[in-house]
């Protein structure tokens, strides 16, 4: 089985190179650099901090967007071209297919995060860049796992990407949403208020809190610690396991 896993992951990496994913990442990086150069020209003070914060936020969003869309379109194409049926006609388990794909996507995510992280080193302490990059790798692993789960379930790009996008926005803003529903101005005791509060609390329990991942302030104020990273790694291990189990559960039940 291990040979199949390695083969699937190898082909994912080759596909990333052939579809020019990394070239696209470099072009997007160039756009980001252009944006921060412009912003740097209109700041009065803290120019380097402003540039770093915008570039880091831009690269983070771009990495998530690119990886998610790439995973979804890659697997959706396999469904449409029926190559999944071909793979499964070989003596290969569905588990090997899912794990092999995840491993390949994970390697591509590491390549992308290291590429973007190394650019931020020009203006931030290296130790903080390492923490930021490691955190981005964790964030991308969760997103690639979720993207694979969605596309295995829906088989089409639009519903899959919509769910990933919704998940990401909620996971990034769940702390802010919690604070809003708990603020004194919203402390109604009506049924709707209780339902809203319960729904937000449920989401907060189920979602990874991405606003604590890959934080911009680490790069500009040198505030990232090993403990921050350990918490993120722990959360990622739990969530990646959960999403992999969901993908396997769904894929084994799928009638292909």
């Amino acid at each position: 089985m291990i040979n199949y896993v390695i083969s699937f992951s190898r082909y994912v990496v080759i596909e990333a190179l052939h579809t020019r994913l990394l070239v696209m990442s470099a072009i997007l990086l160039g756009m980001g650099m252009g944006l921060v150069t412009f912003l740097g020209s209109i700041t009065i003070t803290e120019t380097a901090a402003t540039q770093s914060s915008f570039l880091a936020a831009f690269l983070r969003i771009i990495a998530v967007y690119t990886m998610s869309l790439w995973v979804i379109t890659s697997v959706a194409r396999e469904f449409h071209e029926r190559s999944i049926d071909l793979w499964l006609s070989f003596p290969v388990t569905r588990g090997a297919f899912v794990v092999g794909k995840l491993l390949g996507f994970g390697i591509v995510a590491v390549m992308m995060a290291v590429f973007y992280g190394s650019i931020l080193g020009w203006n931030a302490p290296w130790w903080q860049v390492i923490i930021w990059t490691s955190s981005l790798i964790c964030e991308l692993w969760i997103i690639t796992n979720l993207s694979l789960f969605c596309v295995l379930t829906f088989q089409h790009a639009i519903p899959s990407f919509s769910i990933v996008l919704g998940f990401y926005i909620l996971a990034r803003s769940i702390d802010a949403l919690q604070s809003i529903v708990h603020s004194p101005l919203n402390s109604g005791i009506g049924l709707m208020a209780q339902i809203t509060l319960g729904a937000v609390e449920l989401l907060a329990t189920l979602l990874p809190h991405f606003d604590r991942f890959t934080r911009t302030e680490w790069l500009i104020y040198n505030t990232g610690t090993v403990m921050d990273l350990l918490h993120i790694i722990g959360q990622t291990a739990v969530y990646v396991t959960l999403l992999t189990a969901m993908s396997l559960f769904d894929f084994y039940r799928k009638n292909l």
Partner: protein, 232 residues
């Protein structure tokens, strides 16, 4: 992937492409000019709303907000006078942006160097009070801005009691506030003619061992002697 030669594209398609491009340029040139409506500074959103807008990244929210606020006085190619800005709302914006990114000095710089250029003392006072309140939260990091506010209160709006209030806050500040900054109140008291109070402050500084530089001790001792000679 190698592409086929341009000759294989039908002529109507080429004309359509060129024509539609020209049409787009024509449409742009025909766009009506924007109405010259000058916007008033709106009330700031809440801390959580702004965080939500930037997906939980409060530092990016602060940086975006500060650049927007800084360029608010430039609307549609016109530079608005700071007189047109509501300084009460401006202060609320600055407080929010500082709360989002407490490590940043940008809002303090805007308050103490940019927005104080308005001619109205009342508006300047609002900015200086913002700096004073911010200083009280983190004196060790923000004392240079209060020092700036002290000088502005003394020289720009000639409000010596206000300047003294800031200087006294500096003297009670954190461990990072240098001695020369803590001595500011002595000179303000002298200018106010409060010689007795000035004598008490210098005496206190000499007595509690705050000063270590022999030249500084000598200078203040001389000031103290001069004050005693002036006393009836």
């Amino acid at each position: 992937m190698k592409q086929r030669t341009l000759n294989l594209v039908p002529k109507p398609v080429k004309w359509l492409l060129a024509g539609s491009l020209l049409l787009q340029i024509f449409v742009y040139l025909q766009l009506p000019a924007k109405p010259t409506l000058i916007l008033e500074l709106p009330l700031p959103p809440s801390y959580e709303q702004l965080r939500l807008f930037t997906l939980g990244d409060s530092v990016v929210a602060a940086k975006l907000g500060i650049l927007w606020l800084q360029s608010f006085d430039q609307q549609q190619g016109r530079v608005l006078s700071y007189h047109a800005l509501d300084y009460g709302i401006l202060r609320q914006w600055l407080e929010l942006l500082l709360e989002l990114d407490p490590h940043s000095h940008y809002p303090l710089l805007l308050a103490s160097q940019v927005y104080v250029s308005v001619g109205t003392p009342e508006k300047v006072r609002k900015m200086l009070d913002f700096v004073y309140d911010a200083y009280l939260k983190y004196p060790d990091q923000r004392w240079p801005w209060l020092l700036q506010a002290t000088v502005l209160a003394k020289h720009r709006i000639k409000d010596l009691p206000l300047s003294l209030k800031y200087a006294q806050a500096l003297s009670k500040g954190g461990s990072n506030v240098p001695i020369w900054a803590q001595e500011m109140q002595v000179f303000i008291l002298e200018e106010m003619g409060e010689l007795e109070q000035m004598r008490i402050v210098i005496g206190g500084m000499l007595a509690n061992g705050q000063l270590t530089d022999p030249n500084e001790i000598k200078f203040l001792n001389e000031r103290l002697k001069a004050l005693e000679q002036l006393s009836p």
